[in-house]
Structure formats: structure tokens, C-alpha cells
Amino acid sequence: MDLMPDLFDLALANQAALEARYDGLCSQKSEAELEQLARFAGRVEQDSRVSLNMRQTPLLSFLTLGQHHNIYEWARTRVPHSTGTLEEILRGRLGPYFEARMAFDHWFVDGESFRYGALNIGGAGAARYGDFCAVVCERFFEGRRESAYLGSDSLATYLLPGFTIDEARLREDVAPHCSRHLLAAVKLHSQVCTTPEAGWPRLLCSDTDFVEAVFAGPLTPTDLESVRMLEADYELYAEFAFEDLRYGLSICDRMLTEGFVLVLQLLEARGIPLEVV
């Protein structure tokens, strides 16, 4: 019987291979390209953080309860209030995507402990899925074995038809925390060389693509160094507040506005800065 692989061991084992891939790539670049690529890799190594996009309610619940819940942890909290089993709750939530989620997570040792985020060097992350971008501090990853990085969204990239894992591709890409910059550079080398530096944050992490961070261990609000949101999203809430002082708000808009005020208060109480970007 095959042993289940440990994603984090695979990442650590791939460190040397990633370095070799990066060096091989560098040998094919012109001097100017090489300088640009090295600067990008340096910036990712120095400045990158893991971010998790959340909407208002998940963020409020994270800040209030003091604990981040992945889908399994969330489902376990539902079991006492439901007539369904854990699997039924997960199936109900994930619908046609249940098999894919299970296939990926259960292929690894302790896959149910995985938390998913994205590598980020600025900006509001994958704001399509949540207007608040919670940025995890670097301290959280220092000395943590349970962190790995994948080239892109894991389910969309490393899952083959029939819910089998593209093991060869995964083993080739997976990076440990100390080599995340090499994975980012190998993935984005051609775009980095033609994109001005100001565009790099968006290149690394956007609605459409990102380097996926997979990590385990309890995540609490004290592990956040900031929460970012787009100015356009802040403006939306400010507009609600503005209209509240003119004509008042509908119940729905009032609830969203008051929810945002709660977010602001909880962030302040926990000493987490809100950055409008």
C-alpha cells in the first residue's frame, strides 16, 4: 500500500530542484532580463506575505471568534446543529465540487488541516472572492514546517479528469516557504521581464491567477499584520455612510454599513491596521 504523501515534505524535498530550475532560467536571459528577474525574486523573498481574501461576514467571524476555520472546521461546527453527517454538510456546501476538494485534500497526510491563501507583494489579492484581504505576518511562517506553495489554484491546476492528482506537475512546482520566490520567478519569468515593477503585485496575485499558499496550524487575528481593501470598496461603504446622513439607508444597506463599522472597531481593538489600496 502506498503511503500518503506529505505536502510539506514534498515542498522541502523540491527546494534544490527549484533552485536548479531558476538557475537554468537565468542562464537563458539577457543581462537586462536577468537583472529584472533577480529584482522580482528578491522582492518576493523580502516583501511577500500570505494573504487570505474574506468577505465581511467571514472576517467578522474570524475577528470575533479569534480563530480561522477552514471548510472542515466550519463543517464540524455545523454538525451539532444539523441532522446531517459531516460528509453530508460538506456535500451540501460544495455541491458538484465536493469530489474535487476531497480528492485533493485527502491525497495528502492531514489534508483536512490545510488552509489556502495566496502569495502577495501588495494590493488587495483575489478581491473577486472577498473584499477584505487579510495579510498574515511573516512571523507566523518562521520555523513553521507546515507551509507550501503551488504555482496556481490547486484544484484547477493539479487535478486531472477523474479526480486524480497530476503528481508529476505538483512535485515539480511545490515550494517550501524559503523557496517561494523561486517558484514565483519560474512561473512568471516572461511576464516579469516585460512588466514595469509597479505591475508586479498584480502579476503575482490577482482575481485570475495567484501562487497558492497551503499551510496548516491554527490561525488567529494576532497572526495578521494588516487587512487591505480596495479604495473602491471603502468608497462604497463611505457612500452608504454619506447617504445615511442625508436620507437614511435601507435595512440591507444599513446592515452592510454597520457590519463594516464593526470590522473597523474590531481591527482597531486588535491593533490590526486597515490599509486602503
Binding site: Y97, Y129, T257
Partner: protein
């Protein structure tokens, strides 16, 4: 026909299929905020970002939006979000770029519409903004606008008070004073001033 395929109902965000396109909609449900997204976004949204798979159809946008608003209210009430919060906090903490936009809006939209009470309330909140105290230029602009608002409001109320107060009614309204006593006209004018409109409500 609109098909709701996934949603985060507590926040009112939803993925909707219509005419072969997948759209992401979110409050306040303006067309400008509705975005077409690829099908792959649906799997990511559900598998990683906590969206829930749904399967409801709606005849039109109004019905869908009504559904989403009702579910948002319902789930937040169930979660106990009932304590009122002070929305002014958002304006107080707004970044400079937004404060500038709001000052422009006050100047170009609210003051010409004589929304003095709202202007006074909003500027009062902005004056408490911590960012304003480190920005003398912006602070001055807020103070100037507040002074202008107070001046316009005082002038307007002065005119209205004069209209309803002691003035030469016979000279200004000769035909009315032929039919009514000046005291009656003054009482009538005061009534209009107090109601804020010429006709009685529901008249």
C-alpha cells in the same frame, strides 16, 4: 431567466448564470459592479472561498435582488447583528482621496441643493477625522465649507423669517391684503414655514 448557482448569502454575493454567461453580483447590486467571470471562478469560489452551491431560478433581476437582500437580512439577524453601529465612523476614517471626493460632492451637489443640514452633519463628522488634523489644507477647506453652509442656511432662514414676520405686507402683497387682514396672512405664512411646504400633507 437568471440562475443562481452559488452564493455567500450572509454577504449578498452571488454567482448568476444568464444567457450563457457567468456573472458575479454583490451589494448594492449596481450594474457597474456586476462582473462577468470565467466558469473556473465558480469552482474556486465554492471550494476555497466559502461560497455555497445554490440552484434557484428567477424571472428577472428585481426578483433575484429582492431574494438576495432578504436572505442577507435574515442571516445577519439570525447571527445576532442587531446592535446599531455609528456609520459616521466610516467617514471619520476615510482616506484623504475619499475625503476630497466628498468635499467636491458637498460643494457641487449638496450645497446647490440646499441640503444644509446634511452638509452640516457630514462636515461635522469630517472635522473629527484624525487625518484632517495633520492636513491643514484639507482642514481649512472643511472649515470654509462649513462657514459657507452656515452662511447660506442663515441667509435662507432669514429670508423666510422675514417673509413670515413683521414686514410691510400691504406693500409686498397688495391684493392679498385687500381680502385678508395682515395678521391672518402672517399666521398663514408661518404655517407654511413650519410645515416646510405650501400644501398640507395629503392635501
Amino acid at each position: 431567466m437568471l440562475k443562481l448557482v452559488a452564493a455567500a448569502l450572509e454577504d449578498g454575493w452571488a454567482f448568476v448564470e444568464t444567457e450563457g454567461e457567468l456573472l458575479l453580483v454583490r451589494p448594492p447590486y449596481r450594474q457597474s459592479m456586476t462582473r462577468q467571470v470565467p466558469q473556473t471562478a465558480l469552482q474556486t469560489a465554492v471550494s476555497t472561498y466559502g461560497f455555497e452551491v445554490r440552484a434557484e431560478t428567477f424571472d428577472d433581476w428585481a426578483a433575484l435582488i429582492e431574494f438576495l437582500r432578504a436572505r442577507l437580512i435574515e442571516s445577519r439577524e439570525a447571527a445576532g447583528q442587531t446592535q446599531p453601529q455609528d456609520s459616521r465612523e466610516i467617514l471619520r476614517r476615510a482616506p484623504r482621496s475619499l475625503l476630497l471626493k466628498y468635499l467636491d460632492r458637498i460643494e457641487q451637489e449638496l450645497l446647490p441643493r440646499r441640503e444644509w443640514q446634511a452638509v452640516s452633519n457630514i462636515l461635522g463628522v469630517l472635522l473629527e477625522s484624525p487625518g484632517l488634523h495633520q492636513d491643514p489644507q484639507l482642514h481649512q477647506r472643511v472649515v470654509r465649507l462649513l462657514a459657507r453652509c452656515n452662511q447660506e442656511m442663515a441667509g435662507y432662514h432669514g429670508d423666510r423669517a422675514a417673509l413670515a414676520g413683521d414686514l410691510d405686507l400691504v406693500r409686498r402683497f397688495p391684493r392679498a391684503t385687500q381680502r385678508n387682514e395682515p395678521a391672518e396672512i402672517t399666521t398663514y405664512a408661518r404655517g407654511i414655514w413650519e410645515r416646510g411646504q405650501v400644501l398640507r400633507i395629503c392635501a
